[in-house]
């Protein structure tokens, strides 16, 4: 082992139980997150084959999040399986009423510890890499394996340093940085890698912005993303429900401060980005790598199949594309900072198309309501909902009809993602808000001054 290690290598080394044949290792898992949609097959395997045995129930957390409240009997059954199991096996449960999208709720409760390992049967578990954690999605059977054994098998990924210098400016947000990373790497360019984000731009991001960035690491095919721990991380952790208190917190924080890459650590690859060159970005295609500047056009070399699905012509200015719906929500962009930014755009204005605002957790919802943001959204004519994944996976509260076109603060624009035949354009919450007002893809800068009551 060389003296200088990447941040990822430090977390990996601290959790490696044993190397396994091939490039694999047995990795200890500190936290396993189980939710109603993809958790039940894992629960069933553990219950039927292993008598419900869990490695350590205190390391598990169960969340009803994807369809809350259940929309029909079959999703109600899924939620019921999760809550019945969690109660029976002594697993911490966040149920209807104190629910939230797991990748939003887990950090806000202090359930992701800097430098820890986390698995969940959801690909956007990479969001938690913002905390210097090795957090990644697995299938239901691998989830069952982690529940049973407290560990999982991981093929050691390579590490790519994504060095982002300078500052976001000119209306570009963390979402535009995330879309920029995915566009530069391509939809599969990160395959086999952990993206280790570094640089003064990352240091200047809030934890919420780092989560937005790490959230989309999977959209480049990467195993996950990871950010160094700094004072921003530590002040976020302070006072969280499951964070240690007093002396214990200071001791923990001292250990967390070591969760940075060593100077001179060697990387397998590097991507350099100048944040000053990033601009507000919108996807035109059918994967998150197919994006263009908001002020630009659908590219002339755009993939024909994607254009056919999206019913777009090359050369079309993005800001001329008419919309049927706007959605602000999801584990990418539905935290309090996202809602504040969207509300600032919508304040004193009216939406021109059906607009749905879905907070990322009930805690976010209550905070937003303390600040009066719900009035801003509703005065603008938007629908203010309870927390859930909802429209993002096309399951409830805003599913698209075939041919409908939606601008969305989410992370996936796959064909049919938000409803069979539906078309999705990904953008930041402020661009979604401005587009909701104009009824077409639009920039906040082109809105007329709001009519103040």
């Amino acid at each position: 082992m060389t003296a200088e290690r990447t941040l990822f290598a430090k977390v990996w080394d601290a959790h490696r139980v044993r190397d396994l044949p091939g490039n694999n290792a047995l990795i200890f898992i500190d936290r396993t997150v189980v939710y109603e949609l993809l958790g039940p097959p894992a629960i069933e395997q553990i219950e039927t084959r292993y008598g419900g045995a869990l490695y350590d129930p205190r390391r598990l957390v169960a969340v009803n999040d994807h369809v809350v409240p259940a929309k029909d009997s079959s999703t109600a059954e899924q939620a019921q399986v999760l809550r019945t199991w969690a109660r029976k096996r002594g697993v911490l449960l966040y149920d209807v009423g104190e629910n939230g999208i797991c990748h939003v709720l887990v950090p806000e409760r202090g359930l992701v510890v800097p430098g820890s390992t986390v698995v969940c049967s959801d690909s956007h578990t990479c969001t938690l890499g913002a905390f210097g954690a090795f957090a990644f999605g697995v299938g239901s059977t691998a989830l069952a394996g982690a529940m049973l054994s407290g560990a999982t098998i991981v093929a050691r990924p390579k590490v790519m340093r994504v060095f982002v210098r300078s500052r976001l400016q000119g209306g570009a947000t963390a979402k535009d940085l995330a879309l920029g990373v995915v566009a530069r790497l391509g939809f599969k360019g990160g395959t086999g890698y952990v993206l280790e984000f570094a640089g003064d731009c990352i240091a200047a991001l809030s934890m919420e912005e780092r989560m937005t960035l790490c959230n989309m690491a999977i959209e480049a095919g990467a195993t996950t993303g990871i950010c160094a721990v700094d004072e921003v991380t530590i002040s976020y952790m302070r006072g969280r429900e499951f964070s240690p208190g007093g002396e214990a917190f200071e001791r923990a924080a001292a250990a967390w401060r070591t969760l940075v890459a060593d100077d001179g650590a060697a990387y397998d690859a590097e991507l350099r980005i100048d944040a000053g060159e990033l601009v507000p970005t919108v996807t035109w295609g059918t994967n998150p790598g197919q994006s263009a500047p908001l002020e630009g056009i659908v590219p002339h070399d755009a993939e024909p199949a994607a254009l056919a699905y999206m019913e777009l012509e090359p050369g079309t200015p993005l800001r001329s594309i008419a919309l049927d719906q706007a959605f602000i929500g999801s584990c990418t962009n539905a935290r309090i900072g996202d809602l504040r930014a969207a509300a600032a755009v919508l304040a004193g204005r009216k939406v021109a198309i059906p607009t749905i605002v879905t907070p990322g957790s009930q805690a976010v919802k209550r905070q937003a309501e303390r600040e009066g943001l719900h009035d801003v959204f509703q005065d603008a004519g938007a629908l203010w909902t309870h927390a859930t994944c909802g429209a993002c996976p096309g399951l409830s509260t805003g599913v698209l009809a075939p041919g409908m076109r939606c601008i969305s603060s989410t992370n996936r624009n796959f064909p049919g993602r938000m409803g069979a035949g539906g078309r999705v354009h990904l953008a930041s919450p402020v661009v979604v808000a401005a587009s909701a007002v104009m009824g077409r893809i639009a920039s906040p800068s082109e809105l007329e001054a709001p009519v103040l009551a």
Binding site: V17, R18, L20, P21, G22, N23, N24, L26, F28, L37, L38, P40, P41, Q45, R49, Y50, Y55, S74, T75, E77, Q78, V81, S121, D122, S123, G137, V138, G139, S140, T141, A142, A144, G145, L148, S149, G150, A151, T152, I153, A155, F187, K188, T191, G192, I218, G221, T223, N287, A305, Y309, G394, L395, V399, R412, F414, P415, G416, R417, G419, A420
Partner: protein
């Protein structure tokens, strides 16, 4: 283990899990109907099924199975009667899910996929990591040496169960 059958040629890259099994079919505990909906997120799939009704081996472009972690993608393929997939590359979680369910994934050299897509049928020798196409050509692929055991013998969970004493000892020594 030998998988033999006709090819289902999906000549496109980045076939994601929402296309293999759209999210709207995940809202149920009942996994039996998944096969019926396999690839229902792919425009024009009915025509391909009509031409290749009995195909059991999917051949596709790079990055097959991108996107979500849903193991339902593998279960849908199996429910539809597919037993293997051949592509230049697979998304990580999909590939792991395939291994854990005994679904054979063959990552072949990028320049070999056109021959596979053009073939009518193939015979995959999993242990030998080799594919024999009906035109007599052979294509090699590499399996992860550990996970290959799960494909051949099943038993991912049994393997994990057997590790528990060592994992507990490791955790005790650490704290």
């Amino acid at each position: 283990m030998i998988v033999e059958g006709s090819i289902f040629p999906l000549a496109r890259a980045n076939v994601d899990t929402d296309q293999i099994i759209p999210t709207r079919f995940l809202g149920s505990l009942d996994l039996r109907g998944l096969g019926r909906e396999c690839f229902s997120g792919l425009p024009g799939i009915d025509r391909l099924y009509a031409v290749h009704p009995d195909a059991t081996i999917v051949a596709a472009g790079e990055n097959f199975g991108a996107g979500s972690s849903r193991e339902h993608a593998v279960w849908a393929l199996q429910g539809r009667g597919f037993r293997a997939a051949i592509a230049p590359s697979f998304a990580r979680i999909f590939e792991e899910n395939a291994y854990n369910n005994g679904f054979v994934v063959c990552a072949v050299p990028p320049d070999a996929i056109d021959a596979v897509l053009a073939a009518r049928s193939a015979r995959i020798d999993v242990a030998a990591e080799s594919i024999l196409l009906d035109d007599g050509r052979t294509v090699e692929f590499k399996l992860d040496p550990l996970r290959k055991e799960f494909v051949l013998g099943g038993g991912f969970l049994a393997y994990m169960e057997a590790q528990i004493p060592e994992i507990r000892a490791w955790e005790a020594a650490k704290s």
